[in-house]
């Protein structure tokens, strides 16, 4: 089937809000090339479970497509129109399983050496869309905080090496009640700017006490979910004929309820958490990977005003099958390795914060938990500087903002 054959009734299997949204744009979708459309539908089919920022962006994108003349459609999508597709792809159920189509398309583009052409077409489209529907500026300057090194008594190597050129390094920070203070600052921002999914607290271990206004995700709280997922994976890989691609498809289809989530919670957040575990590589086993990936995805998708990420010690490296086994023995931890993971994780958090609208006004703080070291980055702080003057974390945040 080709996009020109699309009919509203073909979206009957979509969740209710997605169905309502897409049926208003069928005529616009009929004009799009098949090499493009399923990647858009992959987002549309998730509309009910998207964060507000994502919903607004998708609505704008569809409205823009609807507004383009036939000539402009041809111009915008000429790169995609030149992509050759197989009849197998054309005959697949790309309306109801757009995610599977995109996976198969990726493989097909590789084997037919069209990946670069597709990449160029996709980037050109993203540039054009950004020009006509620019990202919304945040209602207040964003703040990112990353806390690293939990459980590390001493560390001989310099920290924040990637970030020092971008901000001010402080070596005499007062650590007392540091985490509590930071969480209070985040809670204060949530009260001052009560935006849905606008203020996040991600913990790689067990979440500390925090204001309920914060959207909280923690590795510890998801332990039963991770165990359920591991059980499913173990069962699936033991089945005859199971391969990595089939397993990936199966993981993509897992719903929160399949893993014990979704009984009385937040459907959007539940879906987000399941995706962290089923789409993120290593998030199932390493808490540092989980925290970094959760932060990346929260920033990319929810575009929060405030994000506090606290890394915790991950388990030491073990064979994957051992880590997947439901052993009752407590995991041996690797605090020093985790500090190195978290140090680069903090850098990635800053990079991802910089990719959001309003980056020039945003501020960022990384603190070595329980210690005197921190780095602060912000519009009013000099770059590449160092200070050994005593300062509280609150002062650092004030200077960075």
């Amino acid at each position: 089937m080709l996009p020109s054959d699309l009919k509203p009734e073909q979206f009957i299997g979509y969740p209710p809000e997605a169905r309502k949204l897409v049926t208003g744009y069928v005529a616009a979708l009929q004009r799009l090339p098949l090499s493009f459309l399923p990647s858009l539908l992959r987002e549309v089919i998730e509309y009910d479970f998207k964060f507000p920022a994502e919903r607004r962006a998708l609505e704008k994108e569809l409205a823009n497509l609807n507004s383009l003349s036939a000539e402009k459609i041809k111009d915008w999508f000429q790169g995609f129109a030149q992509i050759r597709l197989s009849s197998q792809l054309e005959h697949s159920d790309w309306v109801n399983a757009p995610g599977q189509f995109v996976e198969q398309l990726s493989s097909y583009l590789s084997t037919t050496h069209q990946l670069d052409a597709f990449r160029i077409a996709a980037l050109a489209y993203a540039d054009r869309l950004r020009a006509v529907a620019p990202p919304e500026p945040p209602p207040a300057p964003r703040l990112g905080i990353t806390v690293i090194g939990q459980g590390v008594a001493a560390h001989g190597e310099p920290l924040f090496r990637k970030l020092r050129a971008h901000g001010a390094y402080f070596s005499a920070v007062k650590p007392e009640n540091g985490l509590e203070l930071l969480l209070n600052v985040v809670a204060g921002r949530a009260k001052a700017n009560p935006v849905p999914y606008g203020h996040w607290y991600i913990d790689g271990g067990q979440a500390a006490a925090h204001d309920p206004a914060l959207t909280c995700v923690s590795h510890h709280a998801l332990e039963p979910v991770r165990a359920a997922l591991s059980g499913k994976i173990r069962a699936e890989i033991a089945r005859p004929g199971m391969g990595p691609e089939a397993l990936r498809t199966l993981l993509a289809q897992i719903r929160p309820v399949d893993l014990g989530l979704g009984k009385a919670g937040d459907a959007v957040l539940d879906r987000f958490q399941v995706k962290l575990l089923t789409e993120g590589s290593g998030t199932q086993v390493f808490s540092t990977t989980f925290a970094q990936w959760a932060a990346r995805e929260a920033l990319r998708r929810a575009q929060p005003l405030t994000l506090l990420v606290r890394f915790a010690p991950r388990q030491r490296q073990k064979p994957m099958n051992e880590m997947l086994s439901a052993s009752l023995a407590p995991a041996e931890l690797d605090p020093l390795g985790s500090l190195i993971d978290a140090d680069i994780g903090a850098y990635y958090n800053w990079l991802n914060l910089q990719r959001l609208p309003g980056a020039a006004q945003s501020s960022f703080l990384v603190w070595f938990e329980g210690h005197n070291e921190a780095i602060a980055i912000g519009p009013s702080l000099p770059r590449g500087t160092e200070s050994n003057a005593a300062a509280s974390l609150e002062q650092l945040l004030n200077w960075a903002s």
Partner: protein, 401 residues
């Protein structure tokens, strides 16, 4: 903007606006230039362009039929910032201080193929960008270097070996090409399969049995345990007990592979020996400290193998060693990736890697930054060893001939 095509950083957008194809080449050139300058300053190597060519045989006095070649590929490249850049050189002391000063170094090797480890290694071994499914147990479609070598030079099966880390590589030794194929390729030894056959798993060995990191939950099943044990006893002259005892002292799968390589060199002294390492690819699990550990271990193992080559009578003075990653990893700047963790964006950094050659007939301490392709390796080996890789797409590298 919708997230189905990842937004680019401002830097990327500026680059793209000025012409994507040109910009990509320019970025690769700049990358090679940086590598060249890092090596000139840190390892004291000279620019290759000022050197006069002379023939390989004139330089070595060794005829092609006496020459041996060892190829080491890394499955899962390491980025410059963790290796050749000033801040990364601490991770590769052996390459920097011992191997590069003795080598001809190519700073810009571009892989235009599919960035999956099995298919990329198959491409390196055939000199053609293979398009086989990375995750299926399939032979390369084009003749491998081992088949050209054995058929053209009438060499026995014992003269060409591959030591590979993953069960998925069990068919890398010979192609499905009708003019070559079964019986003409290399023998493939999978150290982890050997260890599994010898031990039936067990807690003492699990850290050595991780199959791969691209699909961490999935290990292709292989039969032939009896044959594996025959290989161990008859060819490698290792008793199961000795093998198990030694394996217990090792910390990683690549250390196990190097141990097997040494046995092969001592017992069979093959003229064409190919080893693929994989420890660095732990990066897929997202733990930066483990990725760095992998780089440091690989650096040490490469130096160990070079020492073995120099100390084994069958190899000393007549062996050329090639070391190259199969491809790179994603840059921090590409919002579509997650930095060091994967090689999924297809960006310039993930496609541009390096190669060093050292040993018999190779000029020492020279760096070239002109672009080569991954597929140039097989034609170069053909010219060195005296066979004709008729179906390979690459070109012989004149600086090595």
């Amino acid at each position: 903007m919708s997230s189905h095509f990842s937004p680019q950083s401002a830097k990327d957008r500026a680059r793209l606006a000025s012409g994507r194809a040109f910009a990509s080449q320019e970025l690769a050139r700049q990358l090679a230039w940086s590598r060249r300058e890092f090596l000139r300053s840190a390892a004291g190597v000279a620019l290759g362009s000022s050197l006069l060519p002379s023939s390989l045989i004139a330089r070595t006095g060794i005829s092609a039929n006496k020459r041996k070649v060892v190829v080491i590929t890394f499955g899962g490249g390491a980025r410059d910032q963790e290796t050749f850049a000033p801040e990364g050189q601490e991770n590769i002391p052996h390459l920097m201080r011992e191997l590069i000063p003795q080598s001809t170094f190519f700073a810009q090797v571009v892989n235009r193929g599919i960035l999956g480890h099995y298919v990329a290694t198959a491409s390196l071994a055939t000199g053609v960008y293979e398009t086989i499914n990375n995750f299926a147990s399939l032979p390369p479609e084009h003749p491998t270097v081992f088949e050209y070598f054995r058929k053209d030079l009438k060499r026995p099966a014992s003269d060409a070996w591959v030591v590979a880390p993953s069960n998925g590589f069990n068919r890398i030794g010979e192609s499905s090409h009708r003019s070559y194929g079964p019986g003409l390729g290399a023998r493939v030894i999978l150290p982890k399969h050997l260890l599994s056959a010898a031990t039936s798993g067990g807690a003492d060995y699990e850290h050595l049995l991780r199959d791969n990191y691209e699909t961490p939950f999935y290990t292709p099943e292989l039969g032939g345990s009896e044959f594996a044990l025959q290989q161990l006893g008859m060819m490698l002259k290792l008793s199961v007990d000795d093998f198990k005892a030694h394996a217990r002292t090792l910390s990683s799968p690549d250390e196990l592979s190097v141990y097997i390589v040494r046995q092969l060199m001592r017992q069979l002294a093959p003229s064409l020996l190919w080893i693929t390492m994989h420890d660095i690819d732990i990066a897929h699990a997202g733990a930066y400290s483990l990725y760095i550990d992998g780089i440091r271990r690989t650096d040490r193992l490469c130096a160990d193998l070079w020492k073995t080559i120099q100390s084994e009578p069958e190899y000393a003075g007549k062996t050329t060693l090639f070391i190259l990653p199969d491809f790179g990893r994603d840059s921090d700047d590409d919002a579509g990736g997650n930095g060091f963790q994967h090689h999924r964006t297809g960006d310039t950094l993930s496609r541009t890697t390096w190669m060093m050659a050292l040993g018999a007939g190779v000029r020492e301490g020279v760096v070239f930054d002109r672009p080569l392709e991954s597929t140039d390796l097989v034609p170069t080996l053909g010219s060195m060893l005296g066979f004709s890789p008729a179906l390979a797409q690459g070109k012989p590298i004149p600086e090595l001939l």
